[in-house]
Amino acid sequence: MKSSGWSKSWVQQLVFTGPVTLAFAIIIALPFFMGMYYSFTEWNGVSDNATFVGLDNFVKIFNDQTFINSFTFTTKFTIAAVILSNLVGFMLALLLTQPVKSKNLLRTIFFMPNVIGGLLLGFIWQFIFVKGFAAVGEKTGWSLFNLPWLGDETTAFWGVVIVTVWSTSGYLMVIYISALINVPRDLIEAASIDGATAMQRLRHITVPLIMPAVTIALFLALSWSFKSFDIILSLTKGGPYNSTQSVALNIYNEAFQNNNMGLGTAKALIFFIVVALITSLQVWVTKRKEVQA
């Protein structure tokens, strides 16, 4: 039995990628395009008729101060979270690729926060910040713990950043570890024979060789932080006074709390375009820095 190569590979393609493509189309693509329609309507999410209003929703968005504020917050938060989570993840990876005892145990421990869901993390950390920190502050008198944690803009901002970094850096660590153990030993040995210091070896040999991992890690951290929702919802609910309201939370509130489904989807559409642009830009930039050993 001999069938032509073309049709055979076509059947295989269909069998292997077909189900996934179908599921993706039904669960992601279809709602996405249906949502696009609603962004041109005024609809409360319940009523039987949605009125077509053209571009009205998009005009409203640019006059919506809370949406602009949430964009500012999300941008600041993303910058802080991406830098810190990658730094911490990379440091941990460097540390745990050295000959350390209980290396595997430590890797598991640092990865663990990622296994716990974001909502749960938020509630646990809310307790730590509000009750735990206050108790430590009372006992020791250290001013860091006596701050009104989550109670004002600054502490709420850093509270959200700390929890995000804590939960994501373990995942990034795993990516960095897998890249670091693949760096050829002979290159590093050659460099040290030539007299390169540890810092120089890291800067000029290791980092350029793990750039593919950096691309992935940055991309993940960037898209996670931009879309941040569950940790913020359970940690601060966007408060105090909306100072930690991320764009995702703002969209959710607009659609489900203010019952403006049309306006909400319009915001989501704009947000999608912005995130897609920024992450593509980042991937393009870091890809150009990748080198071959």
Partner: protein, 433 residues
């Protein structure tokens, strides 16, 4: 050959998966249908009830057993989603996925506007004449009434009578001057006057802000003016007075009120660490859990020394409503009728759900059943010393924004003028949408 085997197996799996998806669709779905006679033809009818009072979930299960015994051809399928969860979003998801419940909850007013397309007119139900007048307003639109009130709730300043006595306060304060004096005495006795759960938007944006609305001469037309974008908040004298109360509560608060959530607020009060809290009778169960038989009562929230500002605030938190498109809506109406008129149904309302009745014919026989706060509220109601819950008439989403603005004021990020201006601007904006 191995490859084609794998292909075949995964193709089989894929088909099984898709088949699995398509068969699970005929569970509890209610396709909109004109067939109303479902209850009469001897077949079993399943009534899907989707409700949000977590506190009564257990009692509802006992009620289910009783109702099914009396009505053997009806099965009640009760689902509860509430507490910290978002009931509104959950309900929308049910409607979007064709699992529309037959009976669900509606908060009235703005919530009624949202759901009006889906609600059955209940104006001609036998229990309508029994509902007290103030409980009808919120669920009536264009002369049609859409819901059966679950019960009545009230809030004000809940106070610890023992701590008041300890501080030497003889008579419960009813005016602003008296309240100020009481706060001073409490402070002198080293007792924290208020526990404020200002992390919760609704403590501020619904309940505290309502005090400013309810003390207007004609709250409904005042709110109407704001909804029409005419303003009226900036420079309003009642708002000016309202700051007397609000500022006093902020100045005499527990530590870090902005990170104090509802649970912490109630716990602080119930464990005797503060003398007062702005809350309602729904806290009774939690207080009983911490300090049983606590000696407590409820005080008004005066903004000045006038008679009217000595009222507490009473409203209907929720109504039972019937889905207009349900094919079992006659059975659903029968169930609500049973709940409102039968002895068993009435008994559940008071003794099991512990709701302050919104029906005239229901008597509270045992004072202990509802607890100290509810008894005080009943007394205020009898004396006509109550005002309404006007936050229900605000545009949807506005209480959350007002709450955020008030948090900024509590944190010292804005002053009085900025707060009032910001609320008015947001009100105008959100009413327009």
């Amino acid at each position: 050959m191995k490859k084609s085997l794998i292909s075949a197996v995964s193709a089989g799996l894929a088909i099984a998966m898709l088949a699995g998806c398509s068969t699970s669709n005929n569970g509890g779905g209610n396709e909109p249908a004109g067939n109303n006679g479902g209850a009469n033809n001897g077949e079993k009818v399943t009534l899907n009830i989707f409700q949000f009072k977590v506190e009564i979930a257990d009692a509802l299960n006992r009620l289910k057993a009783d109702y099914e015994k009396e009505n053997p051809n009806v099965i009640l399928n009760i689902e509860t989603m509430g507490g910290g969860a978002d009931y509104g979003a959950g309900l929308k998801a049910k409607f979007a996925s064709n699992q529309e419940p037959d009976i669900f909850n509606n908060g009235g007013n703005a919530d009624l506007t949202t759901w009006a397309d889906k609600l059955e007119d209940l104006s001609n139900e036998p229990w309508q004449s029994d509902v007290i007048d103030t409980a009808k307003e919120g669920i009536t639109r264009d002369g049609k009434n859409y819901g059966l009130p679950m019960g009545i709730e009230g809030y004000g300043l809940i106070y610890n009578k023992d701590l008041f006595k300890q501080a030497g306060i003889e008579t419960p304060p009813k005016t602003l001057t008296e309240l100020k004096a009481a706060v001073e005495k409490l402070k002198a006795a080293k007792i924290t006057p208020f526990s404020n759960g200002y992390q919760e938007f609704w403590v501020l944006g619904n309940h505290t802000f309502n005090v400013a609305l309810a003390n207007q001469d004609d709250p409904t037309s005042f709110i109407k003016g704001l909804n029409e974008g005419k303003g009226g908040l900036v420079g309003n004298p009642v708002i000016g007075n309202w700051f007397n109360l609000f500022d006093m509560m902020i100045a005499n608060s527990n530590k870090n009120p902005l990170t104090t959530d509802y649970n912490t607020q109630v716990t602080l009060f119930a464990s005797g660490k503060t003398a007062m809290m702005q809350q309602g009778n729904w806290t009774q169960v939690q207080i009983d859990g911490i300090t049983p038989n606590m000696n407590i009562g409820i005080l008004p929230m005066p903004v000045d020394d006038s008679e009217k500002s000595g009222n507490i605030f009473v409203g209907v938190p929720n109504y039972w409503v019937v889905n207009k498109n349900s094919k079992n809506k006659e059975a659903a109406k029968d169930f609500l009728n049973w709940l409102a008129t039968s002895e068993t149904g009435k008994n559940y309302g008071v003794n099991e759900f512990k709701f302050i009745p919104a029906l005239k014919s229901v008597e509270v026989k045992d004072q202990k059943v509802l607890g100290a706060i509810a008894n005080d509220i009943l007394q205020y109601s009898k004396d006509g010393k109550t005002s309404g819950w006007y936050f229900n008439q605000m545009p949807e989403g506005l209480p959350q924004e007002v709450g955020a603005d008030m948090q900024a004021y509590v944190a010292g990020k804005s002053n009085k003028d900025q707060l009032v201006k910001s609320i008015q601007d947001k009100w105008t904006n959100m009413a327009k949408k």
